[in-house]
Amino acid sequence: MKAAVLQFPGSNCDRDMVEGFRGAGFDVATVWHKDTTLPDGIDIVGVPGGFSYGDYLRCGAIAAQSPIMRAVADFAVWGGHVLGVCNGFQVLCETRMLPGVLMRNARLKFVCRTEPLIVATSDSPFTRAYEAGQQIEIPIAHHDGNYQIDDDGLVALRGEDRIAFTYADNPNGSRADIAGVLSANRRVLGMMPHPERAVEAAHGGTDGAPLFAALAGALVAA
């Protein structure tokens, strides 16, 4: 299994995501934002957290226009798997690979803490190692994690069981407590919480590890 983790100039969780994938048995390549193609034989693309281009405008807006994101969008169109975490989720929304937008947190402050999440569906290659309804603890760290979507969009997400995670105790004002959503083909996941920060005992919790393990299992089988 091979993963590619993107590197924007302001990515700062790229190394953490690389190690999250490696820990689950992936070979990982890092891909520079100015590149126009992904390496051959990639099973999944990781879009990591950070501040892609400083995010002085809307978070992820400039990254969405970067050369490598065109390649990632193509990869997804052809059925490739993509995981976007935190800033990566913002980038995926800005490229319209996922619906909705991420606005400034309702309390207008950056928030970093470990947060209880509810696994809303186990029907995806990312979440199949969890039970639907299971509560897990995953760190969050963001200023703009307030997920918003229009009424029709929310009906669609619910109807298609595409809400991957919800917050048990909404920290940012997200509509319907949404913490992560899936694409229509269920192969693209964007989430604000950082599963890669909870994969080893030393992190104080390992609830993120099943996500990477599930991916490894799903992609081997594929």
């Binding site: 100039p9 302001g10 700062n12 969780c13 190394r15 953490d16 190690e19 957290g49 950070g50 501040f51 281009y53 400083g54 995010d55 002085y56 402050k109 950056f110 928030v111 970093c112 803490r113 760190p139 760290a141 200023h143 950082h194 890669e196 920060r197 994969v199 030393a202 992190h203 104080g204």
Partner: protein, 719 residues
């Protein structure tokens, strides 16, 4: 370009005394021009020259087998074994933060991060020690919000975990808040970069962001007292760009791998001037700069402005000319400026060319080495008046008052605005004493803490100085880390007042004694003087940042108290209430002496904790608020009640030093008692863990009630 005529007003505005100005003229054998005057003022102000403090800083212990590089470079370097080292320093950004809190604090973080990565170290941890005025002062709310957001805004984007710090409130900081930023980085011991230039005719390269007019004269501003013209000083505060800093970090580390860097120095206070002089002076070389080549983001900048600009995210480097193309390519990859702006020269000259004209021609070594040094008059701080009677207080009432006070409530409101987990190596998050990060890719870890109790320092500078080091030592021992070394950030008032200078001298003496006794040499530091507004000084605040090593993450003491545990108090209790938190918060009194620090006991008790970690369930050191507050903190972290078999106010709230509170099972408690007997360490049982209430003496309250107050107080004030 026409330069202004130098008038006595302009000379005074640049901070020169009459004697200093005469000295400048004598060194040159002529009158300096306007640009040259600016360069001298930048090098000779208190902030850059340490002219009032040098004499005393030299007395600090700075050596030890663990020390690779002590004070004098951008940051101190300490060996952590296996070919790796930790590089760290703490620095103040007090004056800018008071004038413009967000940018002041942000650029404080940016500056200290650059100090660390300019030496070749990747930053792995940051902390911030903050002092604000009283909570209901009209400026405090804005300052707290702005400073905390600025720290988060910069550190979060840059991508360094902020894992600790302090926040205090006291009216003495009403007109001068303190923002002390700490950063630590990790490097290989054979890949450290220093600032000394070498080789004649080597290219001097400018790296990073473009130069603007921001911060012109910042270092001079930071060396003056405030008065009611403070609003006029806002343009001297720099603006931070953490995204550029992040790229500068990655580009510099990549560049260092190539072998192209002969020496490198970040541009901090007094920007281009200070960095160029530093590199030349340390290398025994002259420097020639051509300002036309400096990347500029504003038009028509004068030589004076460029030499004194404090634009952020810039570095100066002496380059190996054979690798120029490779070096340039790295900076182009990261979309950063890379410009050859000068060269090293053999003569002792600091030669500045602008528009084909020589705009400054100064003897370089004199700029640094002949900076004035003062032996300022000082008077010993008089012994504190003895403590007046302190009435007994209901233990729960006393505890409730502490947890409801802005000084001792939870700091989560602030530290949750900082990313404490980026890099995925944080193994002990903020809020529980020292923060701990794993050394990436190894099983080792580093612990970080910052401490000082300014009330103590004011009452008794020597004991207060000792106490700051001792408390830092204790915080490290309480998580099982071996204290390695320290950095000092000395924040004081006007050194031209003998009583303020006396505080400084006393604190240095205490810090020196403690660092020697506890084997934690000072390896870096910073002095911030003139923290006064309209003639009133701050509490003397020598912040100590300390670093400790855990050989294995398994050695971390990070457990929580459990139902059925017993509570053991390590260290002697006499019930010292002078200058205590209880006295200040409950009785609104600041009298009595600071607690005495027995450095032998500190060392013995700290060693005892580390040597016996296997018997320890949970551990916390005792500091402000004494036994009662420490017990509450253990109970709160565990979410379980405790009972203390003590009712006496002095015993519960006294702040005797060298003490730890341990929670552990009955069997392990016995083993600890035996070990303590052997080690000559005082240990007593003071209570037990269990239930849902805090019971002290005959009094009690539900833990949930006290925890709610503790958790919500900060937001109530600053929301």
């Amino acid at each position: 370009m026409t330069e202004p005529t130098i008038t006595p007003e302009i000379i005074a505005a640049h901070g020169f005394t009459d004697d200093e100005w005469a000295e400048v003229n004598a060194i040159l054998g002529r009158a300096p021009n306007f640009t040259e005057m600016g360069i001298f003022s930048a090098m000779w102000n208190e902030h850059c020259s340490y002219k009032s403090s040098k004499k005393w800083l030299r007395t600090l212990p700075t050596e030890g087998p663990q020390v690779i590089c002590g004070p004098g470079e951008n940051a101190g370097i300490v060996d952590i074994g296996d070919g790796q080292c930790v590089v760290f320093k703490m620095e103040s950004h007090n004056h800018p933060s008071y004038i413009e809190p967000y940018q002041g604090a942000a650029t404080g973080v940016g500056g200290i991060l650059r100090d660390v990565f300019t030496m070749g170290a990747r930053p792995i941890a940051a902390m911030n020690a903050l002092s604000f005025g009283q909570v209901d002062h009209p400026k405090t709310r804005q300052l707290v919000n702005g400073v905390v957001e600025g720290i988060g805004g910069y550190g979060n984007c840059f991508g360094v975990p902020t894992i600790g710090g302090e926040i205090r409130f006291h009216p003495a900081y009403n007109g001068n808040c303190l923002v002390n930023a700490f950063a630590a980085g990790l490097a290989d011991t054979d890949k450290i970069f220093y600032s000394a230039a070498s080789g004649v005719g080597m290219p001097v390269v400018y790296l990073g962001a473009k130069t603007g007019r921001d911060g012109v004269g910042g270092a001079t501003m930071a060396s003056a007292e405030f008065d009611d013209t403070i609003e006029e000083k806002r343009p001297t505060v720099q603006v931070g760009d953490p995204f550029t800093e992040k790229r500068l970090l990655e580009a510099c580390l990549e560049l260092m791998e190539t072998g192209a860097v002969i020496s490198i120095q970040d541009m901090g206070a007094a920007g281009l001037t200070c960095s160029a002089v530093e590199m030349g002076d340390k290398g025994g070389l002259g420097i020639k700069l051509t300002l036309d080549a400096v990347p500029q983001r504003e038009e028509n900048m004068s030589a004076y402005e460029m030499m004194l600009s404090e634009s952020q995210e810039r570095m100066l480097m002496v380059l190996n000319p054979d690798l120029e193309d490779q070096a340039r390519a790295i900076f182009e990859k990261w979309d950063l400026d890379f410009a050859i702006v000068g060269e090293t020269i053999a003569e002792d000259r600091f030669l500045i060319i602008h528009g084909n004209e020589t705009v400054a021609d100064l003897p370089l070594s004199k700029l640094a080495s002949t900076a004035p040094e003062y032996d300022r008059p000082w008077v010993e701080t008089p012994a504190a008046e003895p403590l007046a009677d302190v009435p007994q207080i209901d233990p729960i009432d006393g505890l409730r008052a502490l947890v409801a006070s802005p000084n001792y409530c939870s700091r989560a409101w602030a530290y949750q605005q900082y990313d404490s987990q980026v890099m995925a190596d944080t193994i002990r998050a903020p809020g529980l004493g020292a923060g701990v990060v794993r050394v990436h890719g190894t099983n080792k870890a580093l612990a970080f803490t910052s401490d000082v109790t300014p009330r103590y320092v004011k009452a008794n500078p020597v004991e207060g100085g000792k106490q700051a080091v001792a408390e830092a030592f204790r915080n490290l021992c309480a998580v099982g880390a071996k204290p390695l070394a320290t950095t000092d950030n000395m924040n004081f008032g006007n050194p031209q007042k003998p009583e303020i200078m006396g505080q400084f001298v006393g604190a240095i003496k205490g810090i020196g004694e403690a660092c020697l006794a506890l084997d934690t040499p000072i390896v870096s530091g910073n002095v911030s003087l003139y923290n006064e507004t309209d003639g009133t000084g701050i509490l003397p605040t020598p912040t100590i940042g300390a670093v400790g090593l855990l050989d294995s993450v398994d050695d971390l003491i990070a457990g929580t108290a459990r139902d059925g545990h017993v509570l053991l108090l390590v260290g002697e209790t006499t019930g010292h209430l002078g200058q205590s938190a209880l006295l200040y918060e409950v009785f609104n009194r600041e009298d009595g002496d600071a607690p005495h620090v027995d450095l032998e006991a500190e060392r013995r008790n700290g060693d005892f904790i580390r040597d016996n970690r296997e018997w320890i369930g949970a551990c916390t050191d005792l500091s402000d608020g004494g036994l009662a507050l420490a017990a509450f903190e253990l109970a709160n972290a565990a979410g379980t009640g405790i009972t203390l078999d003590v009712a006496d106010t002095a015993t519960l709230f006294g702040e005797d030093q060298a003490r730890y509170l341990i929670s552990t099972s009955f069997d392990k408690a016995e083993a600890l008692m035996i070990a303590a007997g052997r080690a000559g360490v005082s240990i007593v049982t003071v209570g037990k863990v269990g239930g849902e209430a805090i019971r002290i003496g005959g009094s009690e309250a539900p833990l949930a009630e006290l925890s709610d107050i503790w958790s919500s107080t900060f937001a109530t004030h600053f929301g």
